[in-house]
């Protein structure tokens, strides 16, 4: 968290929700793909569902 971030101008809704929207899509892909099949579909599911696991950990660790 740098000081430039907290003093920067007010952000638009699309900027605020850009990352959350991507995460929402990734989560959806992860939840659906493992339903569709096994093997590669499971792998895709683990990969995409790892995003909501890893991102908060990364954000807090780097701060």
């Amino acid at each position: 968290m740098t000081s430039s971030n907290s003093t920067s101008a007010r952000k638009s809704l699309s900027r605020i929700f850009a990352v959350p929207a991507v995460l929402g899509v990734l989560t959806t892909i992860g939840l659906v793909s493992a339903l569709v099949g096994d093997g590669i579909f499971d792998g895709l599911s683990w990969l995409t569902l790892a995003a909501p696991v890893a991102i908060p950990v990364y954000c807090i660790a780097r701060a």
Binding site: N5, L35, F41, P52, P56, C59, A63
Partner: protein, 387 residues
């Protein structure tokens, strides 16, 4: 007050109260749900069971009538409700048995029988198990259908809290980057950041798990709907018949059912007079082979008086919705890595609930202290005037 300010306050109110009402129950659900993700592994670790014979591929299965007879021989006074192909072990079959056909099948015991030798394995009492206690706390808090429906209501509030949380997330992030964590600030700020970050990241997963959980609380009602709907239609010509006296062989009935769908496998058989069948039919529930279709059941009704197929239909949408909502709630359809992801996201949810509760408590306290200061200053002003 501007319109947007007003609407923010309204959403804030919705977020605060929907969360506050359900938080304690959501904490209970998250904590009891955590071990349930791994219930098979925990049961395997804590409880011995007689293993089924390991056989070479292609070994013929035991005759199902012998399986049922062998299972019942060791359980005098019990009747079979359901014959179930163990979803976790292709070498064993489960008999769900109760004192009579009228008892609530959720209180039934499971008798395990070897699928190849047809030998009785064991009939463990699961009701004292750790996983059973967690399961009961998680599904109905030992309060039956009212408990279930109550938890379903809490689940709906949880979904409302998530959606209103998205709305109030925006104004609080106006001046912050995504993922901001103000490490050097006091706990209230740090925990607000954790609440916002974990909350927004979890939105989709928590909505899916939350809402499919709500759907699961309606299972009993869905089953009743199916009984009085599709099942009643399929067996309407038989509705006045008494319970079949000498039922036809189960093995033949299952073979007849399998002929209707050659690509499907048997999931379970409901015996005549039980919850999932008529008094004169075996209901053989068939399933597919993929993660989705293995949960989608297709019932075939076989007349237990003559062994003839009566009808076979796709389940109505409301049953399919329930069946599909189960894996999405349990997280058991993508192997161990998915279970671990489920567990971590569950723990993140606890963090969101806990930080939310803390933030509310902080604000309550500071609002009180402001109120106290205001009343003190009013009192001193009055004192000043009086003097």
């Amino acid at each position: 007050m501007s319109a947007s300010r007003k609407s923010f306050r309204r959403w804030n109110w919705v977020h605060k109260w929907s969360s506050l009402v359900c938080t304690v129950f959501m904490l209970l659900l998250c904590i009891t749900g955590l071990p349930l993700i791994f219930h098979e592994e925990i049961d395997e670790l804590l409880h011995e069971q007689v293993p089924a014979a390991q056989v070479a591929a292609g070994t013929p299965k035991a005759d199902l009538d012998r399986v049922v007879a062998n299972g019942l021989a060791r359980e005098p006074g019990q009747v079979v409700h359901f014959l179930i192909w163990d979803p976790h072990d292709a070498n064993s079959l489960l008999l769900s048995v109760g004192k009579s056909l009228d008892v609530d099948p959720s209180t039934n015991r499971f008798v395990r029988v070897d699928a190849h030798t047809g030998e009785y394995l064991d009939a463990p009492d699961v009701t004292g198990r750790f996983t059973y206690i967690m399961f009961k706390l998680h599904t109905d808090m030992f309060a039956g259908l009212p408990g279930k429906l109550f938890l379903g209501l809490m689940g709906i509030l949880f979904c409302v809290a998530i959606i209103s949380g998205i709305v109030v997330y925006a104004p609080s992030m106006r001046k912050l980057s995504f993922g901001a964590y103000r490490r050097d600030r006091n706990r209230a700020v740090r925990w607000l950041d954790v609440h916002n970050l974990a909350g927004i990241v979890l939105v989709m997963w928590a909505l899916v798990v939350g809402f499919t959980g709500v759907i699961n609380t309606w299972a009993d009602l869905v089953i009743k709907m199916w009984q009085y709907g599709q099942l009643a239609e399929m067996t309407s010509a038989y509705k006045d018949k008494p319970l079949v006296v000498r039922p036809s062989p189960i093995e033949a009935a299952v073979r007849t059912a399998l002929e209707t769908e050659r690509d499907m496998k048997p999931s379970f058989v409901a015996f005549p007079g039980t919850l999932f069948s008529s008094k004169t039919h075996y209901a053989i529930f068939l399933r597919g082979d993929t993660p989705v279709t293995s949960r989608m059941l297709k019932p075939a009704l076989v007349d237990a008086e003559n062994g003839q197929l009566t009808d076979s239909r796709e389940m109505p949408w409301y049953v399919s919705t329930l069946l599909l909502s189960q894996p999405l709630h349990f997280g058991d359809y993508g192997g161990m890595p998915m279970k671990i992801i489920w567990a971590i996201l569950d723990i993140f949810t606890v963090a969101v609930l806990w930080t939310g509760l803390y933030l509310w408590f902080r604000r309550l306290r500071s609002a009180r202290s402001v109120a106290r200061m205001v009343s003190l200053s009013n009192a001193s002003k009055r004192a000043l005037h009086a003097s």
